[in-house]
Amino acid sequence: MLKFLAARIVYTLAVLVAVSALVFVVTELLPGNVATMILGTDATAEDIARLTRLMGLDQPPAQRFIHWLGGVIQGDFGESLRMQRPVGPILAGRLANSLVLAGIAFAMVAVGGLALGLVTALNEGTRLDRVLSTLAAIGTSLPEFVTGTVLILIFAGGLFSVLPPSGYDGFRDGTVDALRHLALPACALAVILTAYVGRVTRTSVIDALRSDYVRTARLKGLSERTVVLRHVLPNALVPAVTVLFMNLGWMFGGIVVVEEIFVFPGIGRLMLFGIAERDWPVIQACAVVIAAVYVFGNLLGDLAVLAINPRLREWTA
């Protein structure tokens, strides 16, 4: 178990380094010259050359990568070229906002998706199931920019004006205010995943319901409640939970779009800012952090699955 954990963590870290390297290479390949970006249209060639040297951009990439990676390990993501301030603190604030948003959306997905899957599976074949399943299938076809746009049109200016379409600003105006601002983005983020997790859950619950061990349990004369709670759920939850955590990564992709729609001051928008401004330390930091959330999400998923399923626990011992 411990060995597995250690191996898994090492693997996770290795993936992270690989991802960082890839991001670094990618940003190396960016067509623009950072110095030009900073100096803008008024700069002379000498200015640019000087700034390039000043920022250490003339050193070999490998050396810069190691230097940068060393910094990252100590929480130092370098200095933003545009903002000329350390990326770390900016990132921290934005990440906190994004985590709040993703956390709420994740809770919605977990509760909604599992409930949806359970309800449809337990009512398999009924009209309720057909309606909900079709809705879920459609739900998986709604990208965040569509749900976001529709939510704004409905709740924030189009039909009603009950919720703000944007302007999240942390909790400085109180929890209620913050939650009001989080409602729409969280929903937009949650819809597609809720539908997806719901579908996966449905399939796995149905598989469990049709399994031999559930038949055995039923033929022992157990009550339906015991059968579902004790025999079906622990097994059915395994794929559902795996998918749930696997999609943390999707969520952190979707969050970029959602933050753009709802002008949400999170890491996704910071990343887009970095891209628009070719601020490579910002891009790198965001990419690595997003990737980290993703791989740790997967790790968490694996651990959750291990906690639920003793057989896997044994295998990995």
Partner: protein, 690 residues
């Protein structure tokens, strides 16, 4: 008639599908009395499981009871409410499913699964339930008590899992247990042990059991009465002793005719046609395959009471040719081999040239890259040497996991041996990455899953032509293809069909035809029979034997089915954990001296046919890694005749037990022979077959 414990009356079951409703069971009537074991026998797909589930009113989705009634004592189970059913399930009628591994919830501890039924039905405390659970474990011979209760199912072996399932069924002391093929998927020795247990339970508890199986031998040994099912209908029913001795339905006769046994066989020799594509809906479902069929067999079937409590659905039961099975039992067992129809009895002389010579072949499975740290260093083959001689049938026997398949895979090049040589003709192919086509051509294999070895999307003609294209770089002529098809009893039209659209039997023949097509010198048969129904098994066997004499090919027959091996093999090689413990002429599995391991195999097979109670203390498989680096005999931990520490410390010598017969054991051959003869005789009378 006294009230039955369970009465099934004119039961018909149908499944809904896209094509409409299909009836899979029709008009089935039988009863189970208290303390009685009723065997339900039939080929795969004959509706056994459907009947079992209908008895529990738990048919799978789409299935329903169309007509008929099922009464438990006075209560109709079909009209019972769900609450009433819940009180009956587990408490009055328990169920043991086909596959123990999937019947246990992988996420729950065994103890909980064992106790939850008791807690629900018996109104006892958790502590009491725990005590009862421990007692049940004793009863099913599971040592380890608490430890087992704390275990998760996957930590137990298949045999242990099945015992847990049995314990679960026994937990609330039900009146009736429905056992749906309780030993399929278990290997022979485990199977024998489970049957032992069931027989013991039968003796100790007054259990009523519906015992479902396609294993005739097992049913013969277990059941008081049998119901023979074919195509969803009852063909014949009656007391086991009558039905299995004087069957009065042509189908039953054919079944028994096909049954090879350890000590004898049926006298008749009925040539049963290949399995029909689909049983006819009306009339006798068997008539398409029946050699005595007449037009009136297409009329509605009636079950005739041919003797008290013995019914037959055959219209012509009175006209059936006389057919008596010499019930093989201990009394006529002994060393005589009555009715042995294997005429290929001449031992292949040692002087015949070897077509394949295997020397010191060693193989180990390398697991995936990531799992390299695991201690899976056990050899799956350990310095195996033997030769396959021209025109002979060499059988490799051994329990599951003994390395038989690995052996076959190494021979045909699907597995890479670690060391050693495999000389085919003059070439050592062991280390070759790609074998020359000429060698591949001469070394064909028939897989366990014969039908599955065909590509489902290809036409039969294309499949049969492939060997010609591959080995001779030319298209086959139509005549060649037609002849090939005919040689396995396929009509020429079949060549145009896609193999996926053929019936199972047809597919099997296509696969065989393809293996024969390049006229190979050697055919490896890896469990080519184990998935087949009894009747099919014999068809395939006969075809293979016929082809062998035609092509004068050598067969390497891999099987754990001892009766079958006995009916086919010239020589036998016994493998235990990748190690050859005995090799010799066929008679080495017919009479002592045996290697102790061979002895256990033979005894298990005999026990299965109730020829011999397996009082033999087979030591349970231990999870301990046997054989790893142990210098001694690999079998010592499970050996019933273990001498002492010498077995643990020293590798056994190879002893000549006769011409062309080697036993690797510390016990001298003569001593083995006396021991084994001695033990056989006194025990013979000790326990009569019931």
């Amino acid at each position: 008639m006294p009230d039955a414990l369970l009465g099934v009356d004119a039961l018909s079951i149908a499944y809904r599908s896209a094509k409409g409703e299909t009836r899979v069971v029709r008009d089935l009537t039988f009863r189970i009395d208290e303390g009685e074991i009723v065997g339900l026998v039939g080929e795969s797909g004959s509706g056994k499981t459907s009947v079992a589930l209908a008895l529990l009113n738990y048919l799978p989705r789409g299935g329903r009871v169309v007509t008929g009634d099922i009464r438990y004592r006075d209560q109709s189970l079909l009209t019972a409410s769900r609450r009433e059913l819940r009180r009956i399930h587990g408490r009055r009628i328990a169920h043991i499913a086909q596959d123990p591994a999937s019947s246990l919830n992988p996420a729950l501890r065994v103890g909980l699964q064992l106790e939850e039924g008791m807690l629900r039905h018996l109104g006892i405390s958790t502590a009491e339930a725990r005590n009862r659970a421990l007692a049940l474990l004793e009863e099913v011979h599971l040592r380890g008590g608490e430890r087992i209760l704390q275990a998760y199912p996957h930590m137990l072996s298949g045999g242990m899992q099945q015992r847990i399932c049995i314990a679960m069924a026994l937990a609330c002391d039900p009146d009736l247990i429905v056992m749906d093929e309780p030993t399929t998927g278990l290997d022979a020795s485990t199977e024998a042990a489970i049957f032992d247990l069931l027989r013991e339970l039968k003796a100790h508890r007054r259990l009523s059991v519906l015992f479902i199986s396609h294993n005739l031998a097992a049913v013969r040994g277990m059941a008081d009465r049998v119901v023979i099912l074919y195509g969803g209908r009852c063909m014949e029913h009656g007391p086991t002793t009558t039905v299995f001795v004087r069957p009065l339905h042509r189908y039953t006769q054919m079944l028994l005719n096909s049954l090879p046994t350890m000590r004898g066989a049926a006298t008749g020799d009925i040539d049963m046609p290949w399995q029909a594509a689909r049983a006819p809906a009306e009339g006798c479902p068997f008539r398409d395959r029946c050699d005595l069929a007449q037009p009136e067999c297409g009329q509605e079937q009636v079950l005739v009471e041919v003797a008290p409590a013995h019914g037959s659905a055959c219209r012509r039961w009175q006209e059936l040719p006389a057919f008596t099975v010499t019930v093989p039992n201990a009394a006529n067992g002994g060393d005589s081999v009555p009715g042995d129809w294997n005429d290929n009895d001449v031992p292949s002389p040692p002087g015949r040239e070897a077509v394949i010579a295997v020397r010191e072949l060693t193989h180990r499975y390398r697991n995936s890259l990531l799992a390299a740290h695991s201690r899976a260093t056990r050899l799956s083959l350990d310095k195996v040497s033997f030769e396959l001689r021209a025109g002979e049938v060499l059988a490799i026997i051994g329990e599951s996991g003994s390395g038989k398949t690995t052996m076959a895979r190494c021979l045909v090049g699907l597995a890479q041996p670690h060391s050693g040589s495999i000389v085919v003709g003059a070439t050592d192919v062991a280390a070759l990455r790609r074998r020359p086509l000429a060698i591949a051509r001469n070394l064909q294999i028939v897989f366990q899953n014969i039908a599955g070895s065909l590509h489902p999307r290809k036409r039969v003609g294309t499949i049969l032509e492939r060997p010609f294209l591959l080995y001779e770089r030319r298209h086959a002529t139509d005549d060649q293809l037609r002849d090939l098809a005919h040689s396995v009893g396929l009509r020429a039209e079949m060549l145009e069909k896609r193999s996926g659209r053929l019936s199972g039997g047809e597919r099997q023949r296509v696969a065989l035809a393809r293996a024969f097509a390049p006229r190979p010198a050697v055919i490896v048969l890896d469990e080519a029979f184990s998935a087949l129904d009894v009747s099919m098994k014999m068809k395939v066997r006969n075809l293979l034997q016929q082809k062998q004499s035609e092509l004068s090919a050598s067969y390497l027959l891999i099987s754990h089915d001892l009766p079958l091996v006995r009916s086919m093999a010239d020589r036998v090689l016994v493998l235990f954990q990748g190690w050859v413990c005995e090799v010799g002429q066929r008679r080495i599995i017919e009479a002592p001296p045996y290697h102790p391991y061979t002895e256990t195999l033979v005894w298990s097979a005999l026990a299965l046919e109730s020829l011999k109670p397996s009082t033999f203390e087979l030591r349970p498989e231990t999870s301990a890694d046997t054989g790893t680096g142990a210098a001694g005999c690999r079998f010592h931990q499970r050996c019933p005749r273990k001498l002492g520490t010498i077995c643990e410390r020293e590798a056994p010598p190879q002893r000549q037990a006769g011409p062309d017969h080697t036993i690797a054991c510390h016990i001298p051959v003569a001593e083995l022979a006396t021991l084994q003869h001695a033990e056989w005789l006194p025990r013979r009378g000790a326990e009569a077959v019931s």
